[in-house]
């Protein structure tokens, strides 16, 4: 029996009638048209589907959509403001953190979650914080540098 799901995605209240077994990823992509969040595997191993649920990083591919009922979801589409990219997005863009771009949405979400927990992360903390997001293109080094830079900018430190 389909159930009514009401949730907030990137600040916008949304609702959909969904089958109870559907994952948050499927609902975001298929029912709500938010395709920025990607599907790269079926065992929560790649991190391409990462979103924030009430500020916590979640693999949306293994999270039931109805569990998100009433909660605040942030996807990659919600990082930038109307007139400016998020510092993380700009740092990725300028620092070679994006190649094919398929891991980028999840990587940015994990990075945002990391900086929220630890505004001044060491390189080791950045590497641990992004370890749930596989990237096959960059070798991670440019991404780690971009997160370091964005964190500094967000703290107001000179970059």
């Amino acid at each position: 029996m389909p159930e009514l799901l009401q949730l907030t995605v990137n600040g916008l209240p949304l609702s959909a009638m969904i089958e109870p077994g559907r994952t948050l990823l499927r609902v975001l992509r298929d029912d709500l048209g938010r395709t920025g969040t990607k599907e790269g595997c079926d065992d929560s191993e790649c991190g391409a589907c990462m979103v924030l649920v009430d500020g916590r990083p979640v693999n949306s591919c293994s999270y039931l959509a109805l569990q998100a009922s009433g909660r605040e979801i942030t996807t990659v589409e919600g990082l930038a403001s109307a007139d400016a990219l998020h510092p993380l997005q700009r740092a990725f863009l300028e620092g070679g953190g994006i190649q094919c771009g398929f891991c980028t949405p999840g990587m940015l979400i994990s990075a945002a979650a990391l900086i929220a927990r630890d505004p001044d992360p060491s390189d080791e903390a950045i590497r641990d914080g992004l370890a749930g997001n596989l990237c096959r293109c960059t070798g991670y080094q440019p991404i780690v540098a971009a997160v370091r830079r964005a964190a500094a900018e967000m703290r107001g430190d000179p970059v």
Partner: protein
């Protein structure tokens, strides 16, 4: 296919559904259950009771020296807790290496236990620390089950279908003790234990070993104790030679399997290494020496 979904906000409401709907299964973070369904290993239950909004299950406190954790306590909270890190270090060692930051933020201690995986990281520390869980059902109240006897087989527990794991209780460790959990991991993250060991070791005032509890990960259908190794330690000096003897006793008694992650030969040999290293780490902590959390990263490349 899942037909019914409920998101109760009280334990009583959850228990009522579990009592009235024989197909109902509780879900906390959902990480393991949904993955299994997506891979076609085990379909989602016909009826799901999402317990993640039950306020009464996410408490955590130290009561009379015991660590009392609601079943919804996340790995992230455990890994960050100064009290757990200093007093129940083995549990912090484990929770801090479960999956990825997202797994730790969403995954719960109750889910990890009830999934009954022989590779579950938090189970062996809880066994070594002598933890119990409270299982509660409608009309029958609560009962206390040792973590050591909760899992019966991979994916199967001693809990009845209408029982909910509400609380994990970890007793205060004995004076002069230290604990650690180390797993052999091929990667530093997103990993499943090839083999793992949790140790609670208690040192007498003269530095010898007063007692030890050892629990092993990924060497049997459930997390198992290593009684031969424990016995080999009592009364001995807490040094590398003793640890080696005990570790070999643990390995000799283990019946690891061949699978895609490792051969049985390698698992058995690694059990010696991991048990010895975990004993050393736990003993160092018992002596008040600082072994960083997670201990799995401690002293890589150094044979104990």
């Amino acid at each position: 296919m899942t037909e019914r979904f409920a998101g109760p906000t009280t334990v009583e409401a959850a228990l009522a559904i579990l009592a009235s709907d024989a197909a109902a299964r509780p879900v906390a973070g959902g990480t393991d259950l949904v993955v299994a369904a997506r891979q076609g290993r085990k379909s989602l239950p016909e009826s799901i009771v999402a317990i993640d909004r039950i306020a009464g299950l996410d408490h955590h406190a130290v009561v009379d020296g015991a660590l009392v954790l609601g079943s919804l306590t996340s790995h992230e909270w455990i890994a960050d807790s100064a009290e757990v890190r200093s007093t129940w270090s083995a549990l912090a060692d484990a929770s801090s290496i479960v999956g990825s930051p997202a797994t730790r933020a969403t995954g719960t201690i109750g889910g990890n236990l009830m999934n009954a995986s022989p590779a579950a990281d938090t189970t062996a520390p809880l066994v070594s620390l002598g933890a119990n869980v409270m299982l509660r059902a409608m009309g029958r109240g609560s009962r206390i089950v040792p973590v050591a006897s909760l899992a019966l087989a991979p994916g199967r527990t001693a809990a009845a279908a209408d029982e909910l794991l509400t609380t994990v209780i970890v007793p205060p460790p004995p004076p002069g003790s230290g604990s650690a959990y180390i797993r052999l991991e091929y990667r530093r993250a997103m990993e499943i234990a090839v083999v793992g060991a949790a140790v609670l070791i208690t040192l007498a005032s003269n530095g010898s070993i007063a007692g030890a509890v050892i629990a092993l990960t990924s060497v049997a259908p459930t997390i198992v104790r290593a009684p031969e190794a424990e016995a080999a330690l009592v009364g001995e000096a807490a040094n590398a030679a003793t640890f080696r003897v005990a570790a070999e006793a643990a390995a000799a008694a283990a019946r690891p399997i061949d699978d895609v992650r490792a051969s049985a030969d390698y698992r058995r040999a690694m059990l010696v290494v991991v048990v010895a290293r975990t004993l050393a780490a736990a003993a160092a902590r018992a002596r008040g020496e600082s072994i960083p959390i997670p201990a799995s990263r401690w002293a890589p490349g150094r044979e104990v």
